[in-house]
């Protein structure tokens, strides 16, 4: 036995073999392709079909883009240069970029003003969007609306200044009285602010210089993508507080208030935005006091704000409903009254839950601002369909213009929705 044993020892390997590479079909790109592209026959067919679709798109789009003409003066010139070959005529963008972005009546020498306002928008929005930034920056966010108004519309600085002063005074009065009673603080603040605005109006009238530092620009001269941005930003920010109030009203125990809010929300959500814009355009004037004329842009802002407020109210209502009942009870047991409970306990949490939903509403609303082109406002789409496509030079340039419009909207909306997803991941407190 020992012999055999001794024999067998000779066959025992003393060192481990080096690992062989896995079979070619189980490693690297081949494995990845097998698993992800050709795991079964139908899957393989699907892959090939998808690749074919991509091939078709790329082969038709690539020469068109690569051959693009960037420096012609008209479509006819473009066609002469292209001489029958496929190619885009991007020169419409280089020639009319200012109209696409700012509309055709915003004074050319003042383009820097909306541009600065746009850049500052990021600075103002940053502290709201990213919680890690120092809270002090919120002061700038508070000032921004007035600054932006002054930059874009121009005119005397006193109008936005007094608006700001009124708000500050209102807040101070509110802060002074809120300790006694919320209602007293609130109404006191509102009255103080209104007083300031009223007096400020007269003072502005008296001291406004004839030649303001920034030349005033009429609302109807706003146009292009700038108009979409203005409508989007203004309406979303305005509709937030209104939406919160509506949502609270809908949750309220008081039947009349609840009923008013429900009717308002359901009515607005039940009709298409375009009919509301028709109201702004052709009906609203009949409901205003005789002799008042609002700018069309202001009427549109009112209607779009109402529209988005109703949608935001529903999102916030969802957030309120998602809070555990214990939170409400805890607030009650601390002896907080309704205003305190909402301000300190319920709303901060409910709003946090609702942020992704609110962002979705905001993206949807921003996209919907192109509808104003239907009521003859020259926003981005209105500029394309109206003055640019009807001009003799560029009559017939569809793809390039619509592609430019789509890209602008895509960049903004995709950016915001990516932010929203990032936020959702950050706010996720359940560890699923």
């Amino acid at each position: 036995m020992s012999d055999t044993h001794a024999h067998s020892v000779a066959f025992v390997r003393t060192e481990t073999l080096p690992e062989l590479p896995p079979p070619a079909s189980q490693a690297g790109i081949v494995k990845w392709m097998r698993e992800n592209l050709f795991s079964s026959v139908p899957n393989g067919i699907l892959t090939l079909a998808a690749i074919y679709v991509i091939y078709l798109i790329v082969t038709s789009a690539f020469p068109w883009i690569a051959n693009g003409i960037w420096n012609a003066d008209s479509l006819a010139e473009c066609r002469t240069i292209l001489d029958g070959t496929t190619g885009a005529c991007f020169s419409v963008l280089t020639e009319r970029w200012n109209q696409l972005l700012f509309g055709f009546s915003y004074p050319t020498e003042h383009y820097w003003r909306p541009s600065v306002a746009f850049v500052l928008l990021f600075a103002a929005a940053a502290p709201v969007m990213f919680f890690d930034l120092p809270r002090k920056l919120l002061i700038f966010t508070g000032i921004y609306p007035f600054l932006a108004y002054w930059l874009i519309w121009g005119g005397t600085i006193f109008t936005p200044l007094f608006a700001l002063v009124g708000l500050v005074i209102g807040y101070l009065v509110y802060a002074r009285f809120v300790k006694d009673s919320f209602a007293m603080g609130f109404f006191g603040g509102v009255i103080a602010a209104l007083m300031t605005w009223f007096i400020g109006g007269y003072i502005t009238e008296a001291i406004a210089p004839a030649e303001p530092f920034l030349e005033a620009v009429q609302s109807r001269n706003m146009g292009g993508f700038m108009l979409n941005m203005i409508l989007g930003v203004v309406c979303v920010s305005l509709s937030l507080p209104i939406g919160i109030v509506l949502a609270l009203g809908r949750q309220s125990d008081m039947p009349i208030i609840k009923w008013i809010c429900v009717v308002f929300i359901e009515f607005i959500r039940g009709v298409p935005l375009i009919t509301l814009l028709f109201v702004a355009n052709v009906v609203l004037a009949y409901f205003l006091p005789p002799g008042t004329t609002f700018d069309l842009i202001l009427r549109v802002i009112i209607m779009i704000t109402m529209f988005s407020a109703a949608y935001i109210a529903e999102v916030i209502r969802g957030g309120l409903a998602a809070l555990p009942k214990g939170q409400y009870e805890a607030a009650d047991s601390l002896g907080l009254d309704y205003a305190q409970a909402m301000r300190l306990i319920i709303l901060p949490q409910a709003l946090k839950i609702s942020i992704p939903g609110i962002v979705n509403v905001a993206v949807g609303l921003f996209k919907d601002t192109v509808l104003v082109s239907v009521i003859s406002m020259f926003d981005l789409l209105g500029m394309i369909r109206g003055p640019i496509l009807s001009s003799t030079d560029w009559n017939g340039v569809y793809w390039e213009l619509f592609m430019a419009a789509s890209v602008l909207f895509f960049v903004v909306c995709y950016g915001i929705s990516q932010y929203s997803q990032w936020l959702e991941r950050r706010l996720a407190t359940d560890h699923r």
């Binding site: 892959t47 009349i256 298409p272 909207f409």
Partner: protein, 404 residues
């Protein structure tokens, strides 16, 4: 806010309206009501004085007057001498047509894209992600106009089909794709034609009945009846048999080029197609996200549990995942349907004659009755939305998890 001490006795003081929680809500409601009524009255008085100043009045009599304009897509009898009311009804039907077509197509696009996006095929899932992101993030109005422009610019006009050596020709001699729309054959029903249709509908009902019977039998006895082939047979055989027995009572009318346009057949207008396709592909992107979220919401344990019971993948999907996912998918799906109906009002941008274009467009322009027309228009959309919401509530209640 309750206290163990007795509520203060004694007379009612005015300050209690503000400070006593028992009365405060009445105060607030009263104030709200007064403000509301005051605001309404203010608007109403402005309206009255504005109308009086302009010498106008509110009256719906215009609905009975002859409309005077023609509508190109007429699902019901209509000519320029019909009333504005009838023009509005034509518009309403056109709205419903586009809404139903777009809802069905969007659901198909959405479900396919949503499922494929979850597929483990890398290329396909990425392609679907691109589709969803691109279409979701660009306004639907731009899509409608892009598709409409493409249709008008890149499709041949009927003129191209004319002549001895036309530059375009009809597909299989039955379909004509022009920039005025797509022309397809139209079925013509002779006397027995409706019987064939009736038989076809009956056989579809039969298929459902048979499937239900098979399920029942499966539960009762455990015996598995074949369903696929019998269903296919029931779908085709009876209708085809009756069709030939009755001597082919349904014939097709083919479109043909006569004069300026194709005549005969069914014309799907360019505006209809643009609106239909744009709404479907745009909303489809949203539905795809809903479907994906719905399927992902079902925890993986469900799949594993079903697999451990020995169910095949197809049955896992049908019997375990889908019934649960649908509960998550359907409510947002219905609100997408609502969005489609509301977005169909963008028809006005491409000249599709829906209710916004007839009642809120031409009728409004021709009669100058802006307030009345916009009011009626809003009421119509409101009714539709409330109906759809009602359906949604009924559904939500019926699928609510019954906790025991």
């Amino acid at each position: 806010m309750t206290s163990i001490t007795d509520p203060p006795q004694g007379s009612f003081r005015l300050s209690m309206l503000i400070n006593d929680t028992r009365y405060r809500s009445y105060t607030f409601q009263f104030i709200a009501l007064v403000v509301l009524i005051g605001f309404m009255a203010y608007l109403g008085m402005n309206l009255v004085s504005n109308l009086a100043a302009a010498g106008l009045n509110i009256s719906f009599d215009f609905l009975g007057d002859p409309a005077g304009y023609d509508i190109n897509q007429r699902p019901i009898e209509y000519d320029s001498q019909s009333s504005h009311l009838r023009a509005s009804v034509v518009g309403i039907i056109n709205t419903l047509i586009i809404a139903v077509l777009a809802c069905i197509t969007a659901t198909i696009f959405g479900v396919v894209a949503g499922v494929l996006r979850l597929s483990n095929n890398w290329v396909v899932s990425k392609l679907m992600a691109i589709y969803v992101e691109i279409f979701r993030n660009v306004p639907v109005l731009i899509w409608i106009i892009i598709i409409f422009s493409i249709m008008t610019v890149s499709m041949p006009s009927p003129r191209a089909f004319r002549g001895d050596d036309p530059s375009s020709s009809m597909l299989f001699d039955t379909f004509a794709f022009t920039n005025r729309g797509v022309y397809t054959p139209k079925p013509i029903f002779d006397s027995g034609g409706w019987i064939v249709v009736a038989v076809f509908i009956l056989s579809i009902i039969g298929i459902f009945a048979y499937r239900r019977y098979a399920t029942k039998k499966l539960y009762a006895t455990g015996q598995l009846l074949p369903t696929f082939w019998p269903s296919v047979a029931m779908f085709f055989v009876p209708a085809i048999l009756v069709y030939y027995i009755l001597g082919r009572p349904i014939t097709l009318e083919y479109p043909s080029l006569q004069g300026f346009n194709f005549q005969g057949g069914i014309q799907l207008r360019g505006s209809l197609i643009a609106l239909w396709f744009a709404l479907a592909i745009y909303t489809g992107a949203f539905i795809a996200e809903n479907v994906r979220a719905g399927i992902q919401a079902i925890s993986k344990g469900q799949t594993e549990a079903a697999a451990s019971l020995g169910l095949r993948p197809g049955r896992i999907m049908n019997l375990v995942i889908l019934p649960q996912a649908l509960r998550v998918i359907i409510p947002p799906l219905i609100s997408q349907y609502l969005n489609i109906t509301k977005n169909s009002s963008l028809a006005i941008a491409v000249g599709y004659m829906d209710v916004t274009a007839t009642l809120g467009g031409i009728t409004l322009n021709q009669t100058g009755r802006a307030i009345e027309a916009v009011l009626l228009l809003m009421l119509f959309y409101l009714t539709i939305s409330l109906l759809i919401s009602a359906v949604m509530n009924v559904y939500n209640n019926s699928v609510k998890l019954r906790e025991r």
